[in-house]
Symmetry: C2
Subunit: 390 residues, 2 copies
């Protein structure tokens, strides 16, 4: 299965993956998933947005769903997402080979646009499915070319009218997502998630005045690039001080000409911290420094929250049960957002398994997990499913 | 004439102009110019790249050419370029109405892609015409979509084989370019140029390691955005200290995703100073600070000169003659590059007239010149042409 997916959407020069939601490469992964499920005789169901769950066993009663996502960040790694989907199918294969007969159905899920790399909204599929994001808002989201989600769906023959809270979730009694760990915190092959850090995406719009780069005196300028540059350095410093994370990884400059002082710099801050309070005070500290610098530069800065997710604490009973099944596997929080967090917030009993990441590198072509650890992940997931569906 | 051009390539929201070389809007300006010349019975000649000179009078002997360019920076002002072309036509109209009979031909010129906003090379038309840029190099330049100039020309039915040193220049005995001033240094309606500051464009490539924005510890990162941010602030400070100009106005981020630490930031430095020595020491100071910061960030930085133009000192005899004709008009240098600088370097006796810019704003939708000053510019240009062609 890993070999099947290896080539889809891979940039030959960087080695990274490009699988934005509803793009041809992501669709190819979905096609592959569909084939895998039908070949196994699983009963595949889709909701109006394209979230998929393939059932093993009766679909009359709620069951245990496991899975993850097939989309990627821009130039991302091979493991983030697909590892959870492939491991879910492999775990089902394992249980069937053992002759295990589940008492409740087991579903294998693949949820769309988890990374938000195309439409800017992380966990888009699970947010729409749970209803925390309305169909209207979702359909109006635009990609970087200005294409609204509604048009992207229509082009693929998907009727935007069908988008909304997902009937698939009615039978999701429990959800377990296996995922590659994305830091270096996990030293055993497999661990269990305790929580997802609070996470915010904030758009910083720095506005100044375009001008000639050669003739405008330095002291006459209102250059928003300087305000941005100071803010980027401040964000890094404040995150270090707070034991948190702050990243400016996406930027848009107007007019973006070599010989013009920019009129506007738009920069997206990704900020995460162990608690909601620390996240809020981190944002406040960065904003304050941006505003102070803007006064000095004669520019202005506007901060718009694009998405803010409070802390997700996975239910402790389920978490402890998984850890016990896995011989007291380590329990740890993560700074990365996941569909599991959205489902947990929606009241679905949810847990996560992490597979060790030896370098901690993620969202990068260099993302890696050892094959032995991946196989340990399949073992662990199979054991957990067996326990939950016994 | 001003009203004719006002709407072409204007962004209705910003009010700025988008007239990149060989784009439909720039072509529309060229069409307009062609019509203006033929309507006046001027004899229009083009070279293989699309530089144009329209002659009044015999074309057997070298004459006096005046004019400027019709392309714009991205979201630029109305005056930069077109003012020189419109004033040239208006000055010819004025001289004809007066019954002036020139002893040498007078040419009105429009030179392509002066701003370099599409193919990244300022004064592209004049550089190719004079032979300082070879046809091979020019044709291989690519726009931001990756389209080579050769293909852009072919698409318009222009044979790339015809690109090269321009026969038009053989009859350019003298060149006078009228241009809106681009700083606030000129306090009279019209002035005469003494020199063009040395000017360099340098590409700074900051390379780090892509990683997950949520899970990667701040201390584990190799974030090239931080190295860039410090360099942008350093450039500003060093330019202030040197009485020079340094601008980072164009940026490209890879992968440019909100939730990924960038792997690479490419930033273009536009640097100008009063002398070649100051420009060189400015670049050295900025580069040194970039390299020091890169060591701290665990990133690397590579600096590539894309174009470096030494100081242009316009010939003093011609300059003083113009100033005398204009009742001792002020003489001043400029930080902006112009085709006039390229022609002067190629040994063509060249001068420039500046029209006052009350705010000093240029390369911006807010660029402005008062109508009275523009008319004074036409008067001045007519007087200069009359003197040079008497």
């Amino acid at each position: 299965m890993w070999a099947d997916l290896a080539a889809i959407g891979k940039d030959p020069s960087s080695g990274g993956y490009h699988r934005g939601g509803w793009t041809p490469t992501e669709r190819a992964c979905t096609e592959w998933f569909t084939t895998q499920c039908t070949t196994r005789g699983l009963s595949l169901e889709s909701d109006g947005l394209g979230n998929l769950v393939a059932w093993w066993g009766s679909t009359d009663v709620p069951g245990v769903v496991t899975g993850s996502h097939l989309d990627s960040v821009i130039d991302g790694g091979a493991f983030d997402g697909p590892l959870g989907v492939v491991s879910a199918l492999a775990a089902v294969d394992r249980l069937r080979a053992e002759g295990f007969v589940p008492s409740v159905p087991i579903g294998v899920g693949a949820f769309v646009e988890e990374e938000g790399s195309r439409f800017g909204m992380p966990c888009l599929g699970s947010r729409v499915a749970t209803g925390v994001l309305t169909a209207d808002k979702a359909l109006g989201l635009k990609d970087r070319s200005g294409v609204p989600l509604a048009d992207a769906l229509s082009e693929l023959g998907i009727d935007p009218a069908g988008v909304g809270p997902s009937p698939l979730l009615e039978r999701m009694g429990t959800f377990v997502e296996l995922h590659v760990e994305q830091g270096r915190a996990l030293t055993a092959p497999v661990g269990v998630a305790s929580a997802i850090w609070p996470h915010g995406r904030f758009r910083f719009t720095f506005t100044g005045e375009a001008n000639h780069a050669g003739t405008t005196l330095m002291e006459d300028r209102h250059d928003p690039m300087l305000t941005y540059a100071m803010t980027a350095l401040a964000a890094n410093k404040q995150a270090r001080l707070a034991g948190a994370r702050a990243t400016f990884g996406r930027l848009s400059v107007e007019p973006n000409g070599t010989n013009a002082v920019p009129s506007q710099v738009t920069a997206w801050l990704d900020a995460r911290a162990a608690t909601d309070e620390v996240l809020q005070s981190l944002l406040s500290a960065i904003t304050r420094q941006a505003v102070e610098r803007a006064e000095r530069d004669g520019t202005s800065v506007e901060v718009t929250p694009e998405s803010v997710s409070p802390i997700v604490e996975f239910p402790s009973g389920l978490r402890d049960r998984l850890a016990a099944v896995l011989d007291d596997a380590p329990v740890l929080p993560t700074g990365a957002g996941h569909d599991a967090g959205v489902f947990s917030d929606a009241g679905i009993p949810t847990a996560m398994l992490f597979v060790r990441n030896p370098t901690g590198v993620s969202h990068s072509p260099a993302e890696h997990a050892e094959m032995d650890d991946c196989l340990a992940g399949v073992d662990a997931l199979a054991a957990v499913l067996k326990d939950l569906a016994k």
